[in-house]
């Protein structure tokens, strides 16, 4: 039985949550509110004055075809990375769960990529796929593909997807493995007696029972793709060629940090924030209902 703590002192509970609240306010709400505020201003070229312009920044943004292009890129990137990293991680976790020899070593090795910093991961993949020097690039060329991600937008996208997927597999693998181990063995045995062969057992019993884990990972991966891939894209393609890999978060960085358009950049980050809030709440509201038992 879970016991609830009760406090006789009225202020003690507030005192206990104060550090968490302070961190949330200072590092999350304050910058977010600054972004909202700044999105209504335009700064001059030297950053000395800023004028209130209302929704002007947003109007400019929605008149910009590149902005919609960037949304499309982000959608493709998010779907590709989430789908690929989840499926590969699930496949690896199912193998690891079968109690193979050297299971611990296998699991430990699979987790390592997660500890690699995004920019470093990016550099590794650049080396491997560098058109004239890269090892994989050489292999791909040998297969007859005209490999040059520096010029071909689709190839550049493939490259960042591979790098992001590689980074994310470890994390997804750990959660899938834990999820698989939480499924009672007797259910699998009951299904085996009930005449379901391994493949059918997986799709009718294991996969549905894993859906809370899958759902959680979909949310986490989408948020990862939206925000945390900035360093990776910057290292691998710099958003190019010809904006082929310029995702929303990269465009925020590009326009604000490099382009100096702080107001426009803030407007973009406000929209990005809204998109993620909407996506996450849709997921929690409609999907979660179907996946809890």
């Amino acid at each position: 039985m879970e016991k609830r703590a009760t406090f006789s002192n009225k202020f003690l509970p507030y005192l206990l949550v104060a550090p968490q609240l302070a961190i949330t306010l200072v590092f999350f709400y304050w910058p977010a509110s600054q972004a909202v505020k700044e999105s209504f201003f335009i700064q001059d070229a030297f950053g000395t004055t800023s004028n209130f312009v209302g929704l002007e920044n947003y109007r400019t943004l929605f008149a910009d075809p590149y902005y919609f292009h960037s949304m499309g890129v982000t959608a493709v990137f998010a779907i590709a990375v989430t789908f690929a990293s989840l499926s590969i991680a699930l496949l690896l976790a199912v193998q690891a769960d079968r109690g193979i020899r050297g299971k611990m070593a296998y699991q430990t090795l699979l987790v390592w990529p997660y500890a690699v910093a995004p920019a470093v991961a990016g550099v590794i993949w650049i080396f491997l796929f560098q058109p004239s020097l890269g090892y994989f690039a050489h292999l791909v060329r040998a297969l007859g593909v005209d490999w040059n991600p520096l010029l071909d937008g689709n190839q550049a996208m493939t490259l960042v997807v591979i790098a992001a997927v590689w980074k994310q597999i470890s994390y997804n693998f750990l959660f899938f493995l834990a999820g698989l181990q939480a499924i009672p063995k007797s259910l699998i045995e009951a299904a085996a007696i009930d005449g379901a062969r391994p493949t059918r057992r997986f799709w009718t019993i294991v996969f549905p029972l894993l859906s809370p884990t899958t759902f959680f990972l979909v949310v986490v991966n989408i948020v990862y793709v939206f925000f945390d891939t900035l360093g990776l894209i910057d290292a691998v393609t710099g958003g190019g060629p010809a904006k082929a890999t310029e995702t929303l978060v990269y465009k925020v960085f590009q326009d604000g940090k490099l382009g100096g358009d702080l107001g426009g950049s803030n407007a973009q980050s406000v929209i990005l924030m809204i998109i993620v809030i909407v996506l996450t709440s849709i997921q929690f509201r409609y999907v979660e209902r179907k996946v809890t038992y």
Partner: protein, 356 residues
Amino acid sequence: MASVLLDRVFKTYPGGFTAVKGVSFAVPDGGFCVLVGPSGCGKSTLLRMIAGLETISDGAVSIGDRVVNKVEPMDRDIAMVFQNYALYPHMSVYDNMAYGLRNLKTPEPEIRARVSEAARILELDDDMLKRKPRQLSGGQRQRVAMGRAIVRKPAVFLFDEPLSNLDAKLRVQMRIEIRKLQRRLKTTSVYVTHDQLEAMTLADMLVVMNAGRVEQVGAPLELYERPASVFVAGFLGSPPMNFLDGMIEKPGLVRLSGGGELAYDPAHFGPPLGAEVKAGVRPERVTFAKEGAGLSFALELVEELGLGQLVHGRVAGNDFTVALPASHNAPSGETQKLAILPDAVHLFDRKTGARL
């Protein structure tokens, strides 16, 4: 319908631990066999070997007239009821019961007919069929697990401690229902339990196991009345049999190590003179003597059960329990004399534990 035959079956785990050591017995077609024994005696392992969930290290398991050692669980024509029921939590009760039939590609109308037939037998109404397992009580889940087993009309039912997660009252009720159901369907059943009362009441055929071996096989009453070993004698019956160590002084008389003597029926037991024995007496076969010479009983505690009384005390240095029917008055006074008829005494070899 099929018989189940085990022929010198062994189970050795990769670590070298042998859980089942050469078990042989045969369950006739339509029989209800109960495997009973303490935790770790290998009974569940044995059941899982019959089901095909554990490999068989040596020996042969046959269902019907087919050796099934290498046959997949799904092809053995069995159904199993698990201790935790193992209901698929994401499926409705109906889908749980239909799952096995769907895997066999049974036409949907026939599935519907068979599920509703099972639901009728188990008294599960339509509303319940639509629910998810988590919305059911323990007893209802148990019924669904049974339903899932019977819709497939298997040759053999396997039960792995199916009642141990239920409360005492429900356990008695479900025990009766399982027995009635088996009588009606006449399906060969193998049932594992550690509860000797469940074992006694359900079985046509009782297999008592201890440390991976079979101690005794037979009808429940036969085992109760003529236990083949100290283990079986002590395991079956509640409260358990009382044991007193002693030596055969002359035919028909045991001299107890802790002092006193005990008469037995020499027509049933023929141990040599001077043999070291363990004498066993069931608590319900003992009464208190009004007067005269008997073993002296030092009273320690009286437990009132309503149905009768359990009187705990010590005899010749051993713990001893007497079960009295309700009509008797509880004894008063600290020392009593025991009245034990010679034919109530069982004798076992003190070293091997075997019946003499």
